[in-house]
């Protein structure tokens, strides 16, 4: 079995329900909440989840080419088993490609990175082992990200329930101290609200015209233009742990390096090796920056 029995098992099952996923997480002895593991596997483009039912399906395996044009590299996404990885490693050594496994978070399969001198070498290798290459994957994803307003508009209109809590906004939203939820007053003001329901926390956004139920990530980004920042000098995208961007945006950023967000000093999450044009596309779709 691989270092990630969970993904190997899910690969053999191919698809299933949320309760099967949850049981599998428990069976492999992971202590993190299953929803965190699900977020990580989705960000790494291994699994897709249905938003309503949380039914899951493993993505077909492929090599996602990383966007750094100087050194051709690609990471393996989707379906994988130990026997399949053995096959990939032996083929890579025959093709004289460098292949590397980098450990990621617990429960998440290691990053399999293939490197070569020319892109053509990686593509020929992928073809040889029966896989496709997603060329410049992060950049292609960044080109079709919807705007945060369209995500809000497509969320169902639903009145915020009584006894909900409201997120207290702050100008310094990137730091840790100011994330606070307080019981909402009778007079509802614009903002993000939440209430604990049967499946866990559910979130609503109130703006000038409507009240909608939506994912937390959509609500917090639609509400504030300062949840995420890009540091041009280091190529890092920074955001608060409570403000993980919506699924597709996070996946776009993760596919720039194949690494998950890393917690750094100051209680922020960072993703490194983000080319400026991709960061710009993500920030622009999330409406981050001055309004």
């Amino acid at each position: 079995m691989t270092d990630s029995p969970l993904l190997e098992y899910l690969s053999e099952r191919q698809h299933g329900t949320w309760s099967q996923f949850r049981d599998a997480v428990a069976e492999v002895g992971l202590r993190q909440p299953p929803v965190w593991i699900a977020d990580d596997l989705s960000s790494l483009a291994h699994l897709e989840f249905q938003p309503e039912t949380l039914d899951w399906g493993v993505c077909p395996p492929l090599f996602a080419e990383l966007p750094d044009g100087g050194t051709p590299r690609a990471v393996l996404c989707g379906w994988r088993t130990a026997a399949f990885l053995d096959k990939l490693v032996s083929s890579a050594s025959r093709a004289r490609l460098s292949i590397r496994f980098d450990a990621l978070d617990p429960g998440v399969p290691p990053r399999l990175l293939v490197g070569a001198r020319e892109w053509q070498q990686i593509r020929a290798y992928a073809e040889g082992v029966g896989l496709r290459c997603a060329r410049d994957a992060a950049r292609r994803l960044s080109a079709c990200l919807p705007t945060i307003q369209s995500l809000v508009a497509s969320s169902p209109a639903e009145l915020i329930p009584t006894e909900a809590e409201r997120l207290i906004d702050s100008d310094e939203a990137l730091s840790t101290a100011e994330w606070r939820w307080e019981p909402a007053m009778e007079d509802r003001v614009g903002g993000v609200y939440r209430q604990h329901r049967f499946r866990g926390w559910e979130y609503w956004l109130k703006d000038d015209t409507s009240e909608r139920r939506l994912p937390k990530s959509v609500g917090v980004y639609a509400r504030s233009p300062s949840r995420m920042a890009f540091r041009h000098s280091t190529g890092e995208v920074v955001f608060h742990p409570e403000a993980r961007p919506p699924k597709l945006y996070l996946r776009t950023l993760v596919l720039c390096s194949g690494y998950l967000p890393k917690l750094v000093r100051g209680g922020r999450l960072t993703l490194a090796d983000i080319p400026p044009d991709i960061a710009q596309a993500v920030l622009s779709c999330l409406d981050q920056g001055e309004r």
Partner: protein
């Protein structure tokens, strides 16, 4: 079957007339189908238990003559059979294999019903022995002919019905139950359908409770038979005399039926005396609201076949997995039983008050939920009436590790005391049956649970199941064998052992304790992805609006060939869709330069891309330069660049090196055409170093540019 194929989905029922079968037979076939098959039976064992009473009910439902139902039915079936000929069952079974794969109602249901009717008449009388099945069948068909010789054909029809239920309809109308184990051979199929009547099946949850069986338990048929006989003798059973006789006559087959029911049981409880409703248990829940307060909930179970939304008179309950949404219980409500029923009374939820509740954490619900019985290793909270406190303390002293404590919080009902940090460590024999919930069972048992199971009985290598061994209060250690090797000595009271710790190779394995054994298969992951259409069908659908994308509503599921115009799918790292709907591929302009122009083959297709300037060129080893990325909206044919340190411009052609279009598209402006021509007609520093073919191509583009300039 006659008629064109109809677009049906598994779980939908449709009858289409069959050419060559008489009308009365077809009416009975349809009536039986509609009476027995229903989405309400989803994932539940389905029995075609036809006897005289059921035939009257079927006739009443189909508005046929109730008084003569049995005689009419037998006559109708007899009419289609060629009684007295070697292929007497041929007419309704002509296309039996094809019918099994067709979603429409198979035409042989009524014939199979007749074979069950014969089985229902198997009781000893003066003329025939109780086990003379073929005699009863011949009697029904009023013939002396040997009805057994062609019976294998009927057996194939039973197998076809099983396929039709389990595979063609995926269990959505009920799961197959017709089997012929052991010495029952062929006639076991019809007999297995009528061993129990509906009112007997409704008693089975009471048997499970008596035997301390839990959903998911898999006792052997032999063990079940013994337990059933003990239950019947115990005086606790309300089985009918009919079922008691069947248990006596057909022991293993009867136990197999109960085993099927146990596999499908997901916690349904026994219905009240005389009730025809299906009932599910409502358990007590407890959630910690603050460190010093708790709230009580009712937690309704949702057995197989119960709807996604339970609509009772005073509340609607949404479902998740095997539960309905918990709702708060007021403190006074614990003293009496409660029932919530659907409007038609067919389904009920029932809460029964108890003096002692054992509660385990249910992660999916986020609360502590009452369980029927704790097991070794469970962490629990116990809620007990004050009168039972002393007995609970004594019981916990014997079955739990020291460290449990009284929970002092608000929100508990008056007259109750709660115990927290209860960790069950051993089996025990309760002093009172009220305390059964605290004492892990001591019944003999060997079961496999947990692990990463791929299908029933098959586990992924390296993640094999855990063996759970329960013993009858023995005093000697128990040896656990895997493939005839002793791998562990377990304590006398039983224990669990993870098979994954053994590093077993892939293949068939046998686990044995004493005379009990279980087999399982461990398999390794495949060495390549399956060519399955089900791999990767979940994706995020986006609708293209000009050059932007937004979430798509009601987009079809991603198939193997995306064909919906205007929709693209994101699946993992891929963007999938029609080429005209995909975003233009971003172009990485590497190495960097001070300025770029990108030109297409149509006049007017051009994009100016500013580059950047480096004070030091070439770059030092530690200097960083981000690539410049352009997102042209047209296929690029020429890349024009002003390099660092160079005074002029360079031009290079891009694949596929095709010639220019002479006319500009309608949507480009005169300024765009002028910019396109101006760039092409520049002088380029690398003109002489271009390959002759590229130079000729450039001349062709320049020819078009010159012509356009003259025209303007």
């Amino acid at each position: 079957m006659a008629g064109d194929s109809v677009e049906l989905q598994p779980g939908q029922l449709k009858w289409v007339g069959v050419v060559g079968l008489p009308g009365p037979y077809q009416r009975w076939n349809k009536a039986i189908g509609e009476s027995f098959l229903s989405p309400q039976n989803r994932d539940r064992p389905l029995y075609l238990d036809i006897d005289a009473d059921r035939l009257r009910a079927v006739a009443a439902r189909a508005e046929m003559n109730v008084e003569t139902a049995e005689a009419d039915f037998v006559t109708a079936v007899r009419e289609v059979l060629r009684v007295g000929y070697p292929d007497m069952y041929a007419a309704p079974l002509r296309w039996v294999h094809r019918d099994a794969r067709d979603l429409r109602l198979p035409p042989f249901l009524a014939l199979l019903g007749l074979t069950v009717l014969a089985a229902s008449k198997m009781a000893a009388d003066q003329q025939m022995a109780a086990n003379n099945y073929y005699g009863r069948l011949a009697q029904l068909l009023s013939t002396d002919y040997d009805v057994a010789s062609d019976f294998p054909r009927v057996v194939r029809a039973w197998e076809a019905l099983n396929i039709w239920l389990d595979e063609t309809h995926k269990g959505l109308l009920g799961k197959s139950t017709a089997r012929a184990p052991g010495h029952f051979n062929r006639i076991g199929y019809p007999i297995s359908q009528c061993l129990m009547r509906e009112q007997d099946r409704r008693q089975l949850p009471a048997f499970y409770k008596w035997a301390r069986l839990q959903p998911g338990d898999e006792p052997t048929v032999c063990e079940l038979e013994t337990l059933l006989q003990r239950w019947v003798r115990s005086g606790n059973s309300h089985l009918t005399m009919y079922a008691r006789h069947k248990l006596e006559e057909t022991g293993p087959l009867f136990a197999e039926v109960v085993s099927n029911e146990l596999r499908a049981w997901s916690g349904e409880i026994e219905s009240e005396e005389g009730s025809t409703a299906r009932a599910a248990a409502v358990w007590l829940g407890l959630r910690q609201i603050t460190p010093s307060s708790v709230q009580l909930f009712f937690v309704p179970q949702r057995p197989n076949g119960f709807p996604d939304m339970f609509q009772a008179l005073d509340r609607d309950l949404g479902a998740i997995d095997g539960w309905y949404e918990p709702f708060p219980a007021s403190l006074g409500e614990l003293k009496r039983s409660h029932t919530w029923a659907t409007g038609d009374g067919a389904l009920t939820l029932r809460f029964e008050p108890k003096p002692v509740y054992a509660l385990k954490m249910e992660e999916s619900l986020g609360l502590w939920r009452e369980v029927r019985q704790l097991a070794i290793g469970d962490q629990a909270v116990v809620l007990a009436e004050e009168g039972w406190e002393i007995w609970v303390r004594r019981t916990l002293d014997s079955v739990a590790t020291p460290g449990w404590d009284i929970l002092d919080v608000d929100g508990l009902p008056d007259g109750y005391v709660a115990f927290s940090d209860v960790s069950i460590s051993s089996a025990g024999e309760p002093t009172w049956s009220t305390l059964d919930c605290l004492c892990p069972a001591q019944r003999v048992g060997l079961s496999l649970g947990g692990g990463l199971t791929l299908q029933p009985g098959v586990w992924l290598t390296g993640a094999e199941p855990t063996v759970h061994v329960r013993t009858i209060g023995g005093e000697e250690q128990v040896e656990l064998f895997v493939d005839d090797l002793c791998v562990a000595e377990l304590p006398p009271e039983g224990s669990s052992f993870p098979l994954s710790s053994l590093g077993l190779p892939a293949g068939q394995h046998t686990v044995r304790v004493g005379d009990r054994s279980r087999q399982f298969l461990s398999v390794q992951g495949r060495d390549g992805p399956p060519r399955s259409a089900e791999l990767g069908t979940i994706a995020t659908a986006l609708q293209r609006r000009d050059r932007a994308y937004e979430p798509a509503k009601n987009a079809p599921q991603l198939g193997s060939r995306p064909s919906v115009p205007g929709v693209v799918y994101i699946r993992g790292a891929e963007v999938i869709g029609r080429s005209e709907d995909l975003p233009p591929a971003p172009l990485v302009l590497n190495p960097c330069a001070r300025h770029f122009y990108l030109l297409g083959r149509n006049p007017g297709e051009g994009l100016s891309v500013p580059g950047h300037f480096h004070f030091k060129w070439p770059l030092g080893p530690k200097d960083q330069c981000y690539p410049i990325v352009a997102r042209p909206t047209f296929p690029v044919r020429w890349l024009v660049r002003k390099n660092h340190g160079a005074h002029g411009w360079n031009i290079v052609p891009c694949e596929p090196f095709d010639g220019p279009s002479k006319d500009a598209p309608g949507d480009v402006s005169a300024e765009q055409i002028e910019a396109w021509t101006n760039v092409l007609l520049r002088s380029f520093r690398n003109l002489r170093s271009l390959k002759p073919r590229s130079r000729a191509l450039l001349e062709a583009y320049r020819g078009v540019a010159s012509a356009l300039r003259e025209r303007s």
